[in-house]
Amino acid sequence: MAAFTSAVAPGAGVLPPPRRKIEVCDLRLRYGDKEVIHGVSFEVYANEILGVIGPAQSGKTSLLRCINRTIDFTANARVSGVIRVDGEDVRAVKSVYDLRRRIGMVAPLPVGLPLSIYDNVAFAPRTAGLRKRQNLDVLVEKCLRQASLWDEVKDRLDSLGTKLSGGQQQRLTIARALSHQPEVLCLDEFSIAIDPVTTMRIEDVLKKLRSEMTIILVTNLVQQARRLANRTMFLWKGEVVELDTNEVIFSDQPKDKRTYEYVNGIIG
């Protein structure tokens, strides 16, 4: 936790108020008749890692899908409230595709697209219209390096992404999420399908990426949020129980008793 490069290091005392990257105001989400997020409001500061913890069905994944608006693909989902990225309402953006490119998304299970490793990473830039091979080469290498996968695959960029091991595929997924140079990176329980060693490697990657982007880390591993996040939000049944710096959340006296109980494995 020593390598903070951002201005929002926890417990850093009196600092100018950090820039708000994402603001969520009174977000409600219903699937059909069932409301799964009940009026959630919070902010994500620029260049921080925001940990989001909470048990299954607490609305963590749905929350991410609201931010990059892939929730639109769910037919019966109804969203109300406002989500702003850099002050811009995501539901009023001109191009939802540009919005999604500004937000990198990593799914729980690694998804190697059935393309070559190179094409997996070049996919997003290509859909955005980048064609020049040289530019793509540079970008692909940069993203694979950022995801700490380059050394393992640099000699076989033409082989299939789907043939990589699970951990490699997850890093490939991260490389793909970085390939459209997002300002926000959302990781949804990225470590559930990969081994601890790979997990630690990716965590190191995330620590480095913090200087370049804002990271939302949804995780069901409380300790992962503790290791990585600057602040952590505890979601419980579609409501924010508590959002505070890690010092408070993981202390003996968080503001809400449920937080203490969840973090310490008494409930959840």
Binding site: A107, V111, L113, F123
Partner: protein, 301 residues
């Protein structure tokens, strides 16, 4: 197991029962497979055996003469090819693209479900009903007359629902997670379909389309009222001897007329026609299999 201490892996009655059940299941399924293969082989063997005296290259490339009793079946063979190709040119694009829309774009609501149900039911409509529809819609109403075009459109209407259904199936077999991954990086639906969904379902789509060739080639009823004729003489050896507004002969129809209308036809003739019809269909299906094997060897997950 005649040891004093109970052996560790002794067979219990339950294990024996399971093994008997396993054996029984295997036998039943195997027998069913055999029951399927044997008649098929018998049919093909019988047809080839009976039709052999007439089968020759000349049989394929000459017109029937002498009231169908002599000569070959060139005009019927070419007619069938024209009918099948024309109908596929219509039904394949419409069917495949409609399926892409239904599977990838359409929202899941009652209307889509009704459309889906309609497609499935349309696939089960007897071909004679399609024939009457074709007669009414294409021959009479659209004024196409009895022609290859009218007959092909009728065949297209008949094959389209099945193409839609099989294409939908092939598209649905591409995991949703691939699509979500694409959407997450800002790809449009069309970019996702073109780069990921179609390349990975094309083998299934092609299989579905090509299997409809056999149906289009084999059906007699839909073309009987709409464009196929008893006899038509065309220049031999010219693949473009027909035009879309012509009437044509067709193998299935030819077989039907030779067996029921023509007296004193050589005994081998119907069998030879059947072999050619079957051979044409098998040839197309074999192409489908080759294409599928090739595409599947490139399957990527």
């Amino acid at each position: 197991m005649q040891t004093d201490a109970p052996a560790r892996f002794a067979e219990t009655p339950f294990v024996r029962k399971k093994r008997r059940g396993e054996l029984l299941a295997r036998c039943v399924f195997g027998a069913m497979t055999l029951a399927m293969i044997v008649p098929l082989l018998l049919i093909i063997g019988y047809l080839v055996y009976k039709g052999a005296p007439l089968l020759s290259w000349e049989f394929l490339t000459t017109n029937p003469t002498n009231g169908m009793r002599k000569g070959g079946l060139w005009s019927a063979l070419l007619g069938t090819i024209w009918l099948v190709v024309t109908s596929l040119c219509v039904s394949a694009p419409i069917g495949v693209f409609a399926a892409v829309y239904l599977n990838e774009y359409a929202k899941d609501n009652w209307f889509t479900r009704v459309v889906h149900l309609a497609v499935v039911n349309l696939a089960g409509v007897p071909s004679i009903v399609h024939a009457l529809f074709g007669l009414g819609a294409f021959v009479l109403f659209a004024g196409l007359g009895r022609s290859i075009l009218a007959a092909s459109l009728t065949l297209a209407i008949m094959t389209m629902p099945v193409i839609i259904a099989s294409t939908k199936e092939a598209l649905a077999s591409v995991p949703l997670s691939f699509r979500e991954a694409c959407w997450n990086v800002g790809a449009t639906r069309w970019q996702t379909i073109r780069r990921i969904v179609l390349p990975n379902s094309i083998s299934g789509i092609l299989t579905g389309v090509i299997l409809q060739v056999s149906r289009a080639a084999g059906e007699t009823a839909p073309i009987m009222f709409t464009g196929a004729v008893f006899f038509k003489k065309i220049p031999e050896g010219n693949l473009f001897a027909y035009s879309l507004s012509d009437q044509c002969m067709a193998l299935s129809m030819h077989l039907y007329t030779v067996t029921t209308q023509v007296t004193n036809a050589p005994e081998a003739l119907p069998y030879a026609i059947a072999v050619v019809l079957l051979g044409t269909v098998l040839l197309v299906n074999a192409t489908a299999i080759v294409v599928r094997v090739y595409l599947r060897s490139r399957k990527k997950w």
